[in-house]
């Protein structure tokens, strides 16, 4: 990549006024660094990934409202987590977290367990139980 070819496309970095550093060669073939504001192929990839997370979150929300999963799964998706990550944060085995996705199990969870999830998601237990509040 030549220095004058370092892409200067619009990207999500613009909002925070941040440029990333790239390596490129100058006109004499010497390596140097250059700032880039972004590159479309990766901006599109990132936007698609974010879209995907929104879809997953929306899907989980619908399933909570239909009472087929518990709010824990919704908040997990909202926080861009997956099962291994959530299980590691909350300190339960993966199968236990998965069990807590069942609305029946979730409704009987003790306060202490709920508090652990609420702490991970940085919300109150009320909000954990009722996803419609403030969302």
């Amino acid at each position: 990549m030549k220095k004058n070819e370092v892409p200067q496309d619009k990207s999500n970095l613009e909002s925070v006024n941040f440029k990333e550093l790239c390596y490129a060669v100058d006109e004499n073939g010497e390596y140097t660094t250059a700032h880039s504001t972004g590159w479309d192929p990766k901006t599109i990839a990132l936007n698609k990934a974010i879209e995907e997370i929104h879809e997953r979150t929306e899907n989980a929300k619908q399933r909570v409202l239909n009472n087929t999963t518990s709010p824990i799964e919704y908040y997990m998706e909202l926080h861009k987590m997956d099962l291994p990550i959530l299980s590691s944060y909350v300190g339960f085995w993966k199968w236990r977290v998965k069990r807590h996705f069942k609305p029946k199990v979730f409704n009987k969870l003790p306060q202490k367990t709920l508090q652990k999830y609420a702490d991970v998601f940085d919300i109150s237990i009320d909000k954990l139980k009722n996803i419609a509040d403030g969302n």
Binding site: A24, P41, A49, K80
Partner: protein, 331 residues
């Protein structure tokens, strides 16, 4: 208290932290030098690790390994510590700052307040330097940022004790002992040798063989997983290859810069030639990323398109195979 510290922006966080700490201690070591000596270049497909619901592909060696190898090869001593208790981790950090010693920290990105929201994923192998503390606020030099920044005690504790894969566990590290002179020449040779060995390794998921395996998978994904998932995987490849920290072209440009610098230090013109070749291979990786993006941009891609990018990837594998064999001979 604030330690006199000069922030230099770098492409990649781990190289940047090492380079900045070395510069702080009076050794002018560039980012590509750290990367090359630490054998940072790699290709590895990790089928058992999923990142954002897609298989993980990495273009660099394991987090932390660049610094470890670099230190060993140039002859500096590094102190590493991990903690189970956040309080102990904070005490150790404050002690070091009180002793005028800037330290490197491994952190998770998800709760890193100064990062743009879109970039905050559960990625735990980010590195930054803490160079001071004022009114309970830590002064931070994050190598990928253009300028210095800061984090509150609570914010820093959160990122130091992020959970998930590669959980940092408060990981703190700093150089403790420097030789009078660094053995740069022998370190460069060791670094290059290991990179050649890794890239030509007889392991199906590593190096050139790993690249070929991913090419095969790209052909299979649309049939096996459906276009939606396949495209999500392709997007993930581009992100791993080009995201902030790679310097572009899946670290290939940083490696080419390292070869160019090494050619001058070792007075070996062959390395300069190979640097130019690596730049061209980097350009091929960029073209590959561009063509992948054309596929996931419009959802109704033809099957032929997947085949085309797979062929492109196989060409890259062939070129890298020839390249690393030549590099092995050149030193």
């Amino acid at each position: 208290m604030e330690i006199k510290f000069t922030h230099h922006q770098s492409a990649h966080c781990e190289n940047g932290v090492v380079s900045n700490l070395m510069k702080h201690n009076g050794f002018n070591i560039s980012e590509p030098m750290v990367f090359g000596i630490g054998s940072g270049l790699l290709f590895c497909y990790i089928p058992f690790l999923k990142v954002n619901h897609a298989p993980a592909i990495t273009y660099r060696s394991m987090p932390g390994s660049i610094f470890k190898r670099f230190a060993k090869r140039v002859g500096i001593k590094i102190k590493h510590e991990k903690f189970s208790n956040p309080k102990d981790a904070k005490v150790r950090l404050d002690q070091n700052l009180a002793n005028n010693n800037p330290v490197g920290l491994q952190v998770g990105v998800y709760n890193l307040e100064y990062f743009p929201d879109e970039y905050r994923f559960h990625f735990n192998a980010h590195n930054l330097i803490v160079y001071g503390k004022e009114n309970n606020t830590y002064l931070i030099s994050d190598p990928v940022m253009e300028s210095v920044t800061s984090l509150s005690e609570k914010q820093l504790e959160k990122v130091r004790f992020a959970k998930g894969a590669f959980a940092p566990k408060g990981h703190i590290y700093y150089p403790t002992n420097f030789p009078k002179e660094l053995n740069i020449e022998s370190a460069i040779i060791k670094g290059i040798k290991q990179t050649c060995r890794d890239m030509l390794a007889p392991v199906p998921i590593v190096g050139v063989k790993g690249i070929r395996m991913v090419a095969k998978l790209i052909r299979k994904w649309p049939k096996k997983k459906g276009t939606k998932v396949a495209n999500h995987y392709l997007g993930q490849i581009v992100r791993m290859q080009e995201e902030i920290g790679t310097g572009g072209g899946g670290f290939r440009y940083i490696f080419a810069a390292f070869l160019q610098e090494s050619s001058k230090i070792l007075k070996n013109p062959k390395l300069a030639e190979l640097s130019t070749e690596m730049t061209q291979i980097g350009d091929l990786w960029r073209d590959f990323a561009l063509d992948l993006s054309r596929i996931y941009k419009n959802r109704s891609a033809k099957e032929d398109a997947y085949n085309n990018v797979a062929i492109q990837l196989e060409t890259i594998a062939d070129k890298e195979e020839v390249f690393f064999k030549a590099l092995k001979k050149a030193i």
